[in-house]
Symmetry: C2
Subunit: 252 residues, 2 copies
Amino acid sequence: MPPFREIAATISRQIHQDVYPEGSMLPKRSILADAFGVDENTISRALDVLQSQGLVRGLRRHGTIVLKPLAHELIDLGSIVEFDGSSYRLSKVFKTFRPEPTIVGRRRAPADVARLLGVDVDDLVLVRECLMLDPADDSRRMLASTYLPLSLVEEIPVLRAGDIGDGGTYGRLEEHGHSPLSWTREAGARVATPEETEQLAMPLGVPVIGLLYTATDPQGRVCDVTSIVMSGTRFRIVDKLARNERAKEAAP
Amino acid sequence: MPPFREIAATISRQIHQDVYPEGSMLPKRSILADAFGVDENTISRALDVLQSQGLVRGLRRHGTIVLKPLAHELIDLGSIVEFDGSSYRLSKVFKTFRPEPTIVGRRRAPADVARLLGVDVDDLVLVRECLMLDPADDSRRMLASTYLPLSLVEEIPVLRAGDIGDGGTYGRLEEHGHSPLSWTREAGARVATPEETEQLAMPLGVPVIGLLYTATDPQGRVCDVTSIVMSGTRFRIVDKLARNERAKEAAP
DNA sequence: GAGTGGTCTAGACCACTTC
DNA sequence: AAGTGGTCTAGACCACTCA
């Protein structure tokens, strides 16, 4: 293992063993460089590793602070799309956030979204993006983006409206002959894009949980792809598991 | 945005637009450095970014190859623990792999596992680790680790056996009075540890999907934590969603 | 042996924050 | 103004793989 990874692993171990407790400052670069007998630049690279793991954060002028580890918030997404009489919600947990619309317009979709929508990566689609804020302190929790093929927007112009909201899209689609919709969810792990990093106020290079919800009509046409992005260092998805029939029999 | 990130974004865009198609080689560092008008070192950092996104891979002597993007394999984990008459399986997909045991022994558990097990991070626990191989080509797909508190192993010595396997642990636990077990799953995104990187033959710094299965007995005692790690650049978890009752009514 | 990526060192400057 | 992290350049060497 090269020195910079070795050093990152050592400091990580020291943090977990409370040599550097949560909230404390690491020694500054020049001190660490002397301590490990390497150049300051090598320390810098090691600290990069720790930052992308969400373990520490560099604060200019101050130093490098040790963040609270394992502060994962558990999110129970469930696997039920909820209907409240007029609009749908992909999970009941999204009810607990305050949505703040940021962008509505025509853009190119990310490659995986384009694939799910069945459009070319260079085609424009309608994008509606919003931040999910914590109602308590307005902190940014998740980023939600809805992608609609332009052909569908021409067919149902009301989808173009800025204030239609997330759940409302599905209601309008069903009212216009795309009923009943069925949904699929893909969950993955990846590194945040620079845009996501900025919007969610995360350090650069952190892993994120990406959810892609696909709404398909009975004709098999993909009507909508909604992407939810949240920091992997702050959130985890939790589920309760059931037993199958034979397992139930086996229990006394 | 600093130059090295700008360059990484530019090359990433060029790859997606087939300037550098999948399987092709990027120009060598010195050429890219000239092309972008920066030092070779800056190119190196940009390529680091692309490698941790799983987009390219550096091959010594050869050059930097463009990997197949979006080759995500969709895994349907389900939410049912299956019983086959003698042992349990946390998901039916695990049946499709060939498990190869690697480590059995006493070790310290990772901090999040220790938290779930309710033991101190410095306590030793019994670890049983195995690689899940693709039966077709023996390639390494996932890493599965089972953690058991030592107190439980003293109570049920058969758990110490090396060949008990993953599903068998739950059967033995239920036979010894911890019945019926109930399971919870946590899913998260994080950066691979160096050990995982090596065992799964991944490039350094890739994001991984981490699953933590917790088995709890009726007394509320956590008996077992099983961790599944898979590359975020290769896998995605897929689910089909259902509608709630009111949504069903709304459909024609 | 030669060519490529991977990494380290040394020195420098910038950006930001606090004083 | 000063001090910290963030980044760039220049030059060097190593490790690995192929010819």
